[in-house]
């Protein structure tokens, strides 16, 4: 079975479905790919794929449909390359940058920025299956049902991964807190 080339009409429709959720798509891709350029390429590839498979959209939650395509493209892209290694230097630079930006503010703000950088670092280090549920739940504020649809897993699995992910995050952050103070 060949898929017909999408017409201009299809592209317009795909844009209508996907562009309102472009930030969500990019945010998910950015957290999965851990690189801005790779994330943008993944989202664009996902858009082309969405246009190609527009006939699989059966109405309903467009964001979930679109995010599941974005996620699949990210995983596919990641599977073609070796696991990215987050360099320690890079992390330190980000922390330094973020701390730098708030030097004019009160000490609390500095602490907050450092804490956010710490959380970012730990979230990026989390295994992807826990990272993605946390990003979808805490940053995209999606419901369990939506997350289950995007990841194509049962709601029970969403719940157990969230619980496990939070446990891992808590552990990592307490350890960080201990080593920095």
């Amino acid at each position: 079975m060949r898929n017909p080339s999408p017409s201009a009409l299809d592209l317009g429709m795909v844009r209508d479905l996907t562009l309102p959720h472009l930030d969500s798509a990019y945010n998910l891709a950015r957290w999965l790919m851990r690189d801005p350029q790779d994330a943008a390429d993944a989202v664009h590839t996902a858009f082309l794929r969405a246009a190609r498979y527009i006939h699989t959209y059966a109405g309903g939650n467009a964001r979930a449909w679109w995010l599941s395509i974005v996620r699949n493209c990210c995983l596919a892209l990641l599977s073609t390359r070796r696991p990215a290694v987050v360099s320690l230097d890079e992390l330190e630079v980000t922390q330094a940058e973020m701390a730098d930006g708030s030097t004019q503010g009160p000490e609390e703000q500095l602490h907050l920025a450092q804490s956010a950088a710490l959380v970012t670092g730990e979230l990026e280090r989390l295994p992807p299956e826990f990272r993605e549920v946390l990003v979808l739940r805490e940053l995209e504020e999606l419901s369990y049902r939506e997350i289950a649809a995007i990841l194509n897993i049962p709601i029970g699995t969403v719940m157990s991964r969230l619980a496990r992910g939070r446990k891992l995050m808590r552990k990592a952050l307490t350890q960080d807190g201990r080593s920095t103070t």
Binding site: L11, L19, A39, A40, S79, V119, S143, Y144
Partner: protein, 251 residues
Amino acid sequence: MSCETFRVQLHAYLDGELDRPALDEVEAHLETCPACRRDLGELEQLRDRVRSAPRHAAPAELRKRIQGTEQLSDFAPNPKRWTAPRWALAASLLTGIALGAIFMGWRYERQASGDSMAMIARALVSSHLRALAAASPVDVISEDRHTVKPWFAGKIGESPPVVDLKDAGFPLLGGRIDYVGEQRTAVIVYGHRKHVIDVFFAPTGETGQQPRQLDGYTLMPCQLEGQRAWIVTDVDPDTLRQFTGLLACAT
């Protein structure tokens, strides 16, 4: 209900995912159980911390790229990454082919004692060049993957993943069976403008991890449907990245 059960429920409670009866039950339990209250407090604190991580907004450039996409072949990766002028590309391509063809045999001999991955890389480029020099780079000419797949099945008893990427600007040209070193291997051939992209299905099962450059050709290892493969081509790095992405998404 035990605290153990409540610990699990607490997440759903925190996430606002409980229905009325379950909600009442959890709240009643929280009133009487300081340990679970403390747990909830910690979970709330953690949630606030996780939410301090940035929610990345899509760059304006990405939005423009998507708005400007008129056809599926319009993929235009960040132009800043590829700035060499066209004539330089053509020149390097020709030089690559000429030098590659002249020195291939010689270098192949010389490198025979080198590391095996370098030898495989050399053999792949050699096969790619042989195919380019031949009248046609394919043994079976077909734009239809349903012709190519069975052809392989008949010849080597297995059929590698073949995908239809014509709409994205990478038409299927066909397939061939080639020797890489002494190994018979399936090669799926795609085109892009005037370029030829060979996808070799891992002659030895081992591809290493890093892309390599050889005589102006890029060798990109990848994994398709669980099979290790090498992509050998002279298209620019961004197009290659796009192709690899589409291939991976489609298989």
